[in-house]
């Protein structure tokens, strides 16, 4: 360890000790959040800080169409235990971890699965807050669809009634520096973690191989900065990000010739991008809350990177209003793709027999022809994957929730329609609180779109109805 590093750690320790000394007079509010004993009327002023343990046990079943058929089939049926541990040193720092143990058919892993979803430590140093460890980071003020949120990955294969369950943790360092009314935020993700999507059908002679993801080198990390402006009347932020995109594209790995059957191997491959974003929210009196968000992303060297999308600008503008017990969030979403051209696939689709009939080494012109054919096919699939099938797209989302029966019954739905591509999704849900700790929910996740569209490709695997029984503690 260098002398400079030692000095830095020593100074950090001094600041932490100073903060700890100041926190010894932590008041009731701070102590009550970390120490269950404070919430007991028997607790004294100097309550001991005890770890807190929360979590849930749940059982879920998802049923939809069998892939490629019209008969019903279980898509997922599993039981899950989640444990959330919190340890708090008020005013100095805290640590949090969540472990999930799942058993059953969940659409992702075949057997029991243990996942350390998050495990991070916060350190509060006056105006500087630091968080390091496995964590989930969410940016953006729009509802559900956030163009500026390009940090930690998601797993769309996860079957759960809770949208947050699709988020994945990543190893990260995150800091905030308070310059009220400004607040600076910095994020560094040293290790790449990819978003996951359901596998879609590949031609018979095409197989998936090991993904091409960046290794854990310093130069492969993701860095991002965000400046928050936080005023009573409005809050806004501007952000910049440089790093690998969480959602990788598809790239050609290799292929064999002269064997029967032929094999073409493709791989999920990451690409680097710049993303510049901004968002805001405000309210018009007690009438509506208004939120907006936009991001321009520019993949690096996208012209020569088959797995990268083209640059695009995504924007969201939404309002939220309550009609008595019914709350409504309506949003317009748009996307403009720069340097756009419609990918049509290979002019001469690859005939697998072509590969069987030749032997290595292939003539250069023939290899170029085969490469071009495969890559044209991949560009088409990537354009579908990255939702860039039109230069300009217009979408709308609507989230409605009605709380009734003394707030024990919730009827809600989230819908999204892409008017340009005619794709849509709908998440209706009914949730009932049997008691403070036990709840049951039933609902559905429905996707649809024209042949060859993204929602059409994932519809078989993700469209389903579900039921869940949960006990939280």
């Amino acid at each position: 360890m260098s002398v400079r590093a030692c000095l830095f750690i020593a100074s950090l320790s001094c600041v932490a000790r100073s903060a700890a000394a100041q926190s010894s007079d932590a008041g009731l509010f701070e102590r009550s959040q970390s120490d269950a004993s404070v919430t007991s009327s028997a607790a004294g002023e100097g309550g001991v800080r005890r770890p807190t343990l929360h979590g849930y046990t749940r059982a879920d079943v998802f049923a939809g169409k069998a892939v490629g058929r019209s008969r019903p089939e279980f898509q997922a049926t599993y039981a899950e235990l989640a444990l959330r541990l919190g340890i708090d040193d008020p005013g100095v720092g805290d640590a949090h971890a969540e472990v999930r143990v799942r058993s059953g058919l969940d659409g992702v892993t075949p057997g029991p699965d243990v996942d350390l979803r998050e495990a991070y430590v916060n350190l509060y140093l006056g105006k500087l807050d630091l968080r390091v460890g496995q964590q989930i980071i969410v940016w953006g003020r729009a509802d559900a669809f956030n163009p500026t949120n390009n940090l930690t990955p998601t797993d769309l294969r996860v079957r759960s009634p809770v949208e947050d369950d699709r988020r994945l943790g990543s190893l990260a360092a995150r800091l905030w520096f308070d310059l009220a009314p400004l607040r600076l935020e910095g994020v560094w993700l040293p290790v790449y973690a990819a978003s996951e999507i359901p596998s879609v059908g590949l031609p018979e002679f095409v197989s998936s191989s090991e993904p091409r993801y960046p290794g854990p080198a310093l130069s492969n990390g993701l860095g991002a900065l965000r400046v928050h402006l936080e005023l009573p009347a409005i809050e806004a932020s501007a952000s910049y990000l440089l790093g690998h995109a969480p959602l990788p594209g598809l790239a050609l790995r290799d292929y064999t010739v002269g064997v029967d059957p032929p094999v073409v191997r493709i791989a999920r491959a990451a690409y680097r991008q710049h993303v510049v974003g901004a968002d805001f929210s405000t309210a018009l009196g007690e009438l509506v809350a208004i939120r907006g968000e936009a991001a321009y992303r520019r993949p690096i060297d996208y012209e020569d990177t088959v797995q990268a999308p083209r640059p695009d600008l995504q924007y969201v503008l939404g309002v939220e209003h309550d009609f008595g017990p019914v709350s409504v969030i309506a949003q317009y979403l748009g996307r403009y793709v720069f340097d756009w051209q419609r990918e049509t696939g290979p002019a001469m689709p690859l005939d697998p027999l072509t590969l069987v009939d030749f032997m290595e080494p292939l003539p250069i012109f023939l290899r170029d022809t085969i490469d071009t054919s495969i890559e044209d096919e991949l560009r088409l699939r990537n354009q579908i994957l990255f939702v860039q099938r039109a230069r300009v797209q217009h979408l709308a989302s609507l989230r409605v929730e009605w709380r009734t029966l003394n707030d024990t019954l919730s009827l809600s739905a989230l819908g999204l329609v892409n008017f340009t591509t005619r794709e849509w999704l709908l998440y209706p849900k009914v949730a009932y609180s049997i008691s403070d700790w036990m709840s049951v929910s039933v609902g559905a996740e429905l996707y649809a779109g024209p042949d060859g569209s993204l929602f059409d490709l994932i519809e078989d695997r993700l469209s389903a109805g579900y039921a869940e029984l949960r006990l939280s503690f």
């Binding site: 009731l28 607040r183 309210a283 009196g285 309550d322 008595g324």
Partner: protein
């Protein structure tokens, strides 16, 4: 995280304001003159403000069969702008589906409040707007209107009589909405308040629905002197009984401290987002 939870948190703020922070000041009237009902209500409104406070509270909902549901939270409040703005922060710990939810409220004297909610399931802070005042707060018998500080100018006040409630000598004041719109917005055609002559806090309230039928009854109990210098009291227990459906909701302050030096850092989105 669901929308009703947004409302829960922001309205708890209001409840605290009216109920737990209800404090007393001498009614300013000429020597020997009897205060008017409006004078009394103005003083109740002004005196509710506490320089700073921190508390741990719970709300228990009891149905006619005796089954209960409970919510718990901790909170901090502080006055700014010479008392014209009250900032409040709340952190919920139970039930499980609201655990970790935080709410930040800037309560202005004349403007609409600024309210932010941190929802753990969303992992971000959201600005929200008000709900309808007649709606139930968190499934309890308290309506949002019961928890908010109403605009004094929206009502006519009538001093009906003086009488004792337990050991408290009270003014009995009828509160009548000036317009049908005000009545409809909060769901009451009339309210009657019993205001302690010593402590200047609400001791009891009766609420009548839009048809004029008895609807709900409020009882405030266990008053604690928090700010001795300004003689400001807070009821540690509030019970709202719905006379039409037999349900009861009980707000209980388990711990409370008068803290004029409450940290300013609490009332920031940065603090709200801390786990």
């Amino acid at each position: 995280m669901r929308r009703w939870q947004y409302e829960l948190e922001r309205r708890v703020a209001a409840w605290i304001t009216v109920g737990l922070l209800a404090t007393g000041l001498p009614v300013a009237t000429p020597a020997g003159a009897e205060p008017t009902a409006r004078d009394i209500m103005e003083q109740v409104t002004v005196a509710r403000k506490l320089e700073g406070s921190e508390a741990v509270v719970s709300m228990t909902i009891v149905n006619p069969q005796g089954q209960t549901r409970e919510r718990r939270l901790s909170l901090a409040t502080k006055l700014y702008d010479g008392g014209k703005t009250e900032k409040r922060i709340y952190r919920f710990s139970a039930p499980a589906d609201v655990d970790g939810t935080g709410v930040l409220v800037f309560d202005y004297e004349k403007e609409a409040d600024d309210v932010w909610v941190y929802l753990p399931a969303l992992r971000k802070t959201r600005r929200i707007v008000s709900a309808q005042r007649s709606e139930s707060f968190m499934g309890s018998e308290f309506a949002y209107a019961d928890l908010n500080v109403p605009s004094l100018d929206d009502y006519d006040y009538k001093l009906v009589r003086e009488e004792s409630v337990g050991a408290e000598r009270c003014w009995v004041i009828d509160v009548l909405p000036k317009t049908p719109e005000t009545a409809k917005s909060e769901g009451y055609s009339r309210k009657t308040y019993w205001v302690s002559q010593e402590k200047h806090v609400l001791v009891k309230g009766e609420y009548f629905d839009l048809d004029g039928h008895a609807f709900k009854q409020l009882e405030n109990q266990d008053f604690k002197l928090l700010d001795a210098k300004r003689q400001r009291y807070r009821p540690l227990r509030m019970v709202m009984t719905n006379q039409q459906n037999g349900r009861r909701s009980i707000f209980a302050t388990e711990q409370i401290a008068f803290t004029p030096e409450t940290k300013d850092d609490f009332f920031t989105p940065r603090y709200l987002e801390r786990p």
